[in-house]
């Protein structure tokens, strides 16, 4: 399996997802499929001013802030698992473009 993040169908590779929010607002949940391997984690590198949370789709578990608490993918080893991503904008002094990079890391 060539590792890459894909959309909810698992077909189209993801490069960037544009989002427009007011400060303090939470974006609608975006579903992406994550290639899972033992020993790998799902983590976020956001600019200041955005909180990135994730949880497995359909799990019903609470969202986890994957910037401060990377999500261990070991239980889903070998799956191309769907995850819900939720972004919340913080306060800003003026309009600012913010990037939140979601990546696979090593545990």
């Amino acid at each position: 399996m060539t590792d890459r993040f894909t959309d909810s169908t698992g077909v189209v590779a993801l490069s960037f997802v544009p989002v427009e929010l007011d400060e303090g607002e939470t974006a609608p949940v975006f579903v992406a499929r994550v290639p899972c391997h033992a020993g790998r984690t799902l983590e976020a590198f956001p600019d200041a001013g955005v909180t990135v949370e994730a949880r497995p789709t359909g799990s019903g578990t609470p969202f986890v802030n994957i910037a401060t608490d990377p999500f261990d993918l070991t239980p889903f080893d070998g799956e191309n698992r769907a995850f819900d991503f939720r972004l919340t904008a913080g306060a800003v002094a003026a309009l600012s473009p913010v990037q939140a990079v979601i990546r696979l890391a090593y545990a």
Binding site: R4, D22, S96
Partner: protein, 737 residues
């Protein structure tokens, strides 16, 4: 079972160990970042250190190792491989392996070179525009009030008018302003400039930056009388930080090539100026830097150009990765020109968000669940949707590169010869063993016939009757992508005394020779090539004798010559150093029926010409013009019924499979081109930028389609009086070709 500790990188491709039987290699030293192995056999490599292993091995036989690594300190875990059979391990990198066990058995030779490669990151990004709540509420009203201001080194400078322009197909934003007070001195040439748009919230203006860190790029002043009144104007333009980066170039021409694919970059990879030589104003040569980069690929080229070269934090793209043989960054073209030939076939949209460069393929499928920004008719004054002229083509001729050079391939054979002189055990006995690796060039049409041969490497070892090595010469020839010899590296080892060690005689490298051959067009027949110049630089051990001064400086001579002349003593203050000895220049001039060769030798020890001579030989010095083989393939649309003119696509700069896929996409695009959009905005939308994804609709909400913004422009008139703002946007349709 022998074991080898392999902690350090070493010279290219020496044989480090020849191991018979099951072999275990314990790496306990420096972490190397890359590794490639040709393995035929069962092989065991144990690393006691977390490390990075990057590389792949394709093996003649039933064995392969594939491993990927990453360029950081995180531990990596790799799979294991069990390999059966005879094994030759070529590690490109001082090897460290974390986890993963490979078992080697059989005769094994280990060769290694060092290189560093970063593993690809698996990631995607959310790009957010976060609005202040009060500004957002103000823009939601039917009546909106705006202001603009120019800050020069943080201080406001009043304006009459301004234009902010971000055109398509370039990077960066240009701001042109007309100053309210025609004082050119109010804008210093090194000023840092910001341009802001103010939005009235009801309580005050909230200013948001439209341009940050701009630098002066042009200025004009007009002194005009209108009636009896002066109406002077000063117009100034600025370019932002991102736009400034587009013009960056290296300090010298740089050629980066994959040595696994070509021995040396072809001269056609750099401009003819660089091939001949560039000097600065003081006569110092600005040498072309040739950098081997095993495994060179498109993503690495982007990183070298835009991250290392232009200063972006990173480059993100949804373009596919592919192997690249060579890339040239030149003084005149800059980093961007080196990458453009690889980018142009994809026609991507390029934009920056912060300090991250995005290169987006607008023809890639749109992911499910993506919410595009709606651009409805109430936000637009004018919409122009254009279908570009369709070309009535249903076929395309794609020219692609094939992995054969003018229909030629080569095999190698090893010739070993031993010649003995004298009587074994007696004085004067020598045994000379010569190992010559020969490339046999054959054609695909007649693969059993050898058309020509070239020596690839030569190693000559002379031993005496006590099996002591008297001398050893090793020469490795280099070839360019057209299978022409472009030079060689030759090392000579000989038994010489060491004056710093009591005259102890031991085997040392006494000289090292580097030769380069430059080819060019035949002056009398442009269809042929010839050799223009051969340059051979020789460096080696030099004896320095401070007790024997010449012109006030210690006398110097090549150590081997001094040894032959009996001038080496161990009781004086003689020392040795490794330095340049001589450079030989050979120029060939083709004169039709004869060839004139001019040879000049510069002695670097005496800093004087050693000899120069001109000789004339009968005959011609011509070489057949060799070119990379290409193939032209006709691709057609399904259901082709009529013969129409076909389009053409040049994919020779890409791997053949990537080129063919792009050619098919180009054909579909010609038959059904994406729509171009141009719109005039009802009010300035400062969140619109290159790369914005838009869902555009016209009257009654009829969808025009999904688009990606390629450029925008904002005009600000009557800034100090009644500000009038006109904004326009260009975009191209997102297609899934």
């Amino acid at each position: 079972m022998p074991s080898v500790v392999n902690p350090v990188p070493f010279d290219p491709l020496p044989i480090l160990a020849s191991l018979d039987g099951a072999t275990s290699i314990a790496a306990a030293g420096e972490v190397s970042k890359s590794f490639s192995a040709n393995v035929r056999g069962s092989t065991s490599i144990l690393a006691t250190l977390h490390a990075e292993l990057h590389g792949a091995a394709v093996v003649a036989g039933s064995t392969s190792i594939q491993a990927t690594g990453r360029l950081n300190s995180e531990a990596n875990v790799f799979g294991s491989a069990n390999l059966q059979g005879s094994t030759q391990l070529q590690a490109s990198g001082g090897v460290s392996l974390a986890g993963g066990v490979v078992t080697l058995s059989g005769s094994t030779a280990i060769r290694a070179t060092a290189r560093v490669a970063a593993a690809p990151e698996v990631s995607f990004a959310f790009i957010l525009d976060v609005h202040r709540a009060d500004a957002s509420a103000a823009l939601a009203r039917n009546v909106r009030r705006f202001s603009v201001r120019l800050l020069v080194n943080g201080s406001p400078v009043p304006l009459k008018a301004a234009t902010l322009n971000a055109p398509p197909d370039t990077l960066g934003t240009e701001l042109s302003v007309e100053l309210a007070r025609p004082d050119a001195a109010s804008i210093p040439s090194d000023a840092s400039v910001d341009f802001e748009l103010g939005i009235w919230t009801g309580a005050g203006f909230v200013f948001e930056k439209l341009l940050t860190g701009g630098r002066l790029s042009g200025r004009s002043k007009r002194v005009v009388n209108s009636g009896n009144l002066p109406t002077d104007t000063v117009a100034v333009s600025f370019v932002d930080v991102i736009g400034n980066r587009w013009n960056l170039a290296p300090e010298a021409n740089v050629l980066i090539f994959d040595p696994d694919k070509i021995d040396r970059p072809a001269a056609s990879g750099v401009s003819s100026v660089a091939a001949v030589g560039i000097r600065d104003a003081e006569g110092v040569e600005v040498k072309t830097v040739e950098t081997p980069a095993p495994g060179l690929n498109f993503f690495e080229v982007l990183r070298l150009a835009y991250v290392e070269g232009c200063g972006f934090d990173s480059v993100k793209t949804n373009l596919p990765n592919f192997a690249v043989e060579q890339v040239a960054f030149t003084l005149s073209g800059g980093y961007d020109a080196g990458v453009r030939p690889l980018l142009t076939p994809f026609a991507p949209v390029v934009f920056a968000v912060g300090n991250v460069l995005w290169i987006v393929d607008a023809d890639a499928p749109v992911p499910a669940g993506l919410t595009l920004r709606p651009l409805t008719v109430n936000r637009l004054v004018e919409i122009t949707s254009t279908l570009p002229n369709r070309e009535p083509v249903d076929g395309i001729l794609a020219t692609i590169k094939v992995d054969r050079i003018a229909g030629e391939f080569f095999t190698e054979r090893l010739e070993v010869e031993t010649v003995e002189t004298g009587n074994f055990g007696g004085g004067g006995f020598t045994s000379t063993r010569t190992e010559r690796r020969v490339r046999e060039f054959r054609s695909f049409d007649e693969p059993t016939v050898i058309r020509r041969e070239e020596t690839a490497s030569l190693k000559t070892t002379v031993t005496d009757s006590e099996f002591e090595v008297l001398s050893r010469e090793t020469q490795t020839d280099q070839f360019d992508g057209l299978n022409r010899k472009t030079g060689h590296r030759r090392s000579v080892e000989a038994r010489v005394p060491d004056p710093e060690d009591g005259g102890e005689v031991s085997l040392k490298e006494v000289s090292r020779e580097t030769q380069s051959i430059i080819y060019g067009s035949h002056p009398l027949n442009p269809k042929l090539d010839t050799i223009l110049r051969i340059t051979t630089e020789v460096e080696g051990l030099i004896l320095v004798d401070p007790d024997n001064e010449y012109l006030g400086k210690p006398f110097k001579a090549p150590l081997l010559e001094a040894h032959r002349s009996g001038n080496v003593t161990s009781d004086g203050g003689q020392t040795t150093e490794f330095g340049k000895i001589k450079t030989v220049f050979e120029y060939l001039r083709v004169q039709g029926q004869s060839v004139e060769m001019e040879t000049r030798v510069i002695n670097h020890i005496s800093n004087a010409p050693d000899s120069s001579r001109v000789t004339t030989r009968p005959g011609a010095a011509e070489l057949p013009r060799v070119s990379q083989a290409t193939q032209t393939i006709l691709l057609t649309l399904p259901g082709r019924t009529q013969r129409r003119r076909v389009a053409e696509f040049d994919g020779t700069g890409l791997p053949s499979d990537t080129a063919l896929e792009l050619a098919r996409r180009q054909l579909r695009k010609l038959a059904a081109p994406p729509l171009d959009f141009a719109g005039v905005l009802a009010y300035p939308d400062r969140t619109l930028r290159r790369g914005s994804l838009l869902a555009i609709s016209e009257r009654n909400g009829s969808p025009l389609g999904n688009y990606i913004a390629t450029g925008y422009k904002m005009d600000f008139a009557n800034v100090e009086d009644a500000l009038a703002i006109t904004g326009s946007l260009t975009a191209r349709q997102l297609t899934s070709l």
